[in-house]
Amino acid sequence: MDAAIEGHLAAGRHARAFDLIVPEFRDRVFRLSYSILKDRASAEDATQETLVRVWKALPGFDGRAALGTWIYAITRNTCLMELRRRRPTVSFDDPDSMEAQHAATNIATGPAGDPEHDNLLRLVAALPANQQQAVRLFYLEDRSYEAVAESLGMPLGTVKNLLFRARKRLMELARPEEVQAA
């Protein structure tokens, strides 16, 4: 499919290339947007915005980067703009920040009788933003390290390390509840 797209782009048939780009990339763009924005409606808006930007910028695409790399970079920029627009927001970037500690405390001492599913979501929400993003995307992309690395524009080793630290942290956060439940 990529070869067909590249063929159209090389021949200057941008509209036809775009018609192939949409079905090929829209779902991954959406999943990447969702992993960053954590909200379905916002992710769908960001996906629309990304594809419109791709349509506008396609005549200037020079092929130096892979098409996917270029599209995912546009996606990340679109989502970052949306996050900036949403300010002020609570950041979990620093796991030792007051907010992260507060969230972790809430999870450990959350109301009894919460469904297991809600607990899992709250545990994930207590992770630093980059770990949350990697975890969400990893499971949305059917546990593909390569897909996560390509979407996030990170080296494979960085993604593996992020996921390792994320799951280690999740185990630590979940342990008090498991011990209490035992």
Binding site: Q48, E178, V179
Partner: protein, 187 residues
């Protein structure tokens, strides 16, 4: 969960195996290392329990995290937006068209202004020339004594010389003036 398991889980796995245990759960650990790790786990209850806990966490995340889908009308909305953008003329072409229109407007204004300048010069020259001719008939010799006309020149020559002088002054003034839109519009 029994208490011995809780205890070993709290201790965590062997430090040098921790990363590999996660990769083993993901199925991405290189086969040789995976074999060595499995052999290690046969004798290490801490790593075995940790691997089991990772497996449970992995299953929970795989089934518990939301898997949202795009709306069914996503493609239709996107195509509508693209169609809307296609109707908007290309920005560069729009700028070029506006610049062309601006240049044509300046040219038209300049032409109109040239005609106005000619008419103004003719009117002003006629008034000044007429005044000088009148003065000469009422007070013969006055203009000569002031050095405004040459001795012995007649009224017609005075009139045309004045007219030519006013035209020349107008021409000089407009030649030095920069031709920009504001000056043309203000006059």
């Amino acid at each position: 969960m029994n208490h011995s398991n809780d205890y070993t889980l709290a201790l965590g796995p062997c430090v040098d195996q921790e990363f590999d245990l996660v990769e083993l759960a993901d199925g991405s650990l290189e086969p040789g290392r995976a074999l060595r790790l499995r052999q290690h786990m046969e004798h290490c209850v801490r790593c075995r329990n940790y691997a089991a806990a990772i497996g449970r966490l992995d299953a929970s995340l795989a089934t518990g995290l939301p898997r949202p889908q795009l709306s069914p009308d996503f493609d239709a909305r996107l195509q509508a937006r693209i169609a809307e953008l296609r109707r908007v003329p290309d920005r560069a072409a729009a700028i070029a068209a506006a610049e062309r229109e601006h240049a044509e407007m300046l040219q038209a204004l300049r032409r109109a202004l040239n005609w106005r300048a000619v008419l103004n010069a003719a009117a002003l020259g006629s008034v000044v020339g007429g005044t000088l001719v009148g003065l000469e008939s009422f007070a013969p010799g006055l203009l000569e004594s002031l050095g405004l006309v040459r001795p012995g020149s007649n009224a017609t020559a005075t009139f045309f010389i004045t007219l030519a002088a006013v035209f020349a002054a107008y021409g000089l003034y407009f030649a030095r003036r920069p031709a920009s839109a504001p000056t043309l519009l203000v006059g």
